[in-house]
Amino acid sequence: MNYDLSEIQKEALLELLNIGVNESTNILSEILNVEIDLQIPSIKIISADKLIEELQEVGKENYSAVNMEFRNSFSGVSQLVFSQDSANKLVDVFTRQVLGNGDFDEIKAGALIEIGNIILNAILATFSNALEHEFQFYVPVFFENYKKEFFEQREKYIGEVVLLGKTLFNIEQYHISGDIILYFNIKSFNYFVNLIDQYVKKIS
């Protein structure tokens, strides 16, 4: 099945994602008291079974993910995925401590939830405002040791269409990459595309 979007639809989506991440960087900068640069340079629409091949750090053993679910006329799951190394690095930067690459304990997980939550919150809020669509939002959930198999099975229960945005954090001397993912089922995806079209019409 072809999930491809037109260039103008892709541009609109990319713009909305970047409005969201820009807002989140302001909050993150306030927490850290340093300049943070977070960008989503491109997006892709793919089927969920191809997702693992497209992740930023392909071939890593384990990933950490923060998920936030949204529901209404169309539903889905937003997700921020990091390799275990990047997740550790990110938590170290935000907590101003060198906790190392040891176990990802509950406290470190809490820090990653907060960071992921700020980003996903801003993106979902931007979509909600721009698409003039209210959602029911759910609290963020953390997944550790997210393995290849999880990604391959995801479409079975959270959606077979995936919107993937590659992200790059630049914080001081650190460059940390991750992926922002939105999962939809086909019906929700079509609804979402429809709203994007309306948004494009409105702004053009």
């Binding site: 306030e30 809490g110 907060e114």
Partner: protein, 403 residues
Amino acid sequence: MLKENFYKNPFECYDYIPIGVCIINSNYSVIYWNRTLEAWTGKNRNDVLYKKIFDIYPHLASPKYKTRLEMMFSGRPPMVFSPMINHYFFPIKDASGNYQAQTATLTALPTNEQGVFNLVISVENVATLFNRVEQYRLLKNQALDELNKRIETETKIKDYAQKLEQLNATKDKFFSIIAHDLINPISSQYKLTKILKDNIQEFSKEDIVDIVDEIEKSSSHTYKLLENLLTWSRSQLNKFVAKKECFPLREIINLAIADVYSQITVKKINLTIDESCITDIYCDVNMLATVLRNILSNAVKYTNYGGKIFLYCNKNENFTELTIEDNGIGMSEDVLSNLFKIDKSQSMPGTDREIGTGLGLVICKEFIDKLDGHIRAESKLGVGSKFIISLPNCPDDTKNQSL
């Protein structure tokens, strides 16, 4: 929960959960303060109701918190504050006077009025978990520190053992030289001079010349041996400090050749020095001269009468390589692999039955190391040997080449 209470105040259900819950309206006024928060903070709900949250907890007015609180009133997705980044949301002290570690979740709650939201602040006490994780992390770091210290100690012990082994080998070599290499020639010199003294009347002039020749050869060998032994022992005592300077390599080669020139002449060896060696080198002149003297002396020793010795240089960006190549008898792989090792080096007799101790090359290696250079050898039995010395270029040369 009593049914009538629920209908009176639907928030009252929050009184029955072990999580601190505070609800504020869009004016930041507290409209609910649950029993758990009362217990944790010691603040009675009647004392906080309708007060601004910033008046109760002024730190929440800082941008780090206020920005996020503010945006939640537009009905955004839930917002989380973790203990690792913020430690607490409400500053609540435990029995030991420490601030309780908390995870706080902010959820926008729609009101009856369109587009107006209240904010549910739910606070989870994660102090026990937080402290345990901190303790675990502390223990883990202590264990890792201990492990690193042990590894460091083991490495030191291994280093000491290696040094002791080296010292032992040095001592063995020293005694072996005194016991064999030094005693034998001195004893033969003594015997020859005694024979000469006791029987001088009976010997012909030719016999006397032959005996004196032998004594001269033996004394010359002993002298060189003693010289090497002295140099080596001084080097072992770290008495040599390299005084590096820029110096013409060709002049150092000439210094070394002067000492072996007579042997070269006797063996009618064709010695060629390539023009590529007319360059400056950054080294200690005396040390490099000693090294070259030893290597040239070996080249002469293991080259047949009428053989060839060829010296040539190759200048790279930072180093100059000097190669001393001969077409002598060469070495087996076994001898080659132990050339620079004090405990394993051994000397083979030269083409004219010249003898040695294997000490010279050990000194060469030590000196070249002190000069921040490298020395290596290549050889093939029956074909010849090559000694390649690599030394730093003069600092100016390196600068000029990189420009």
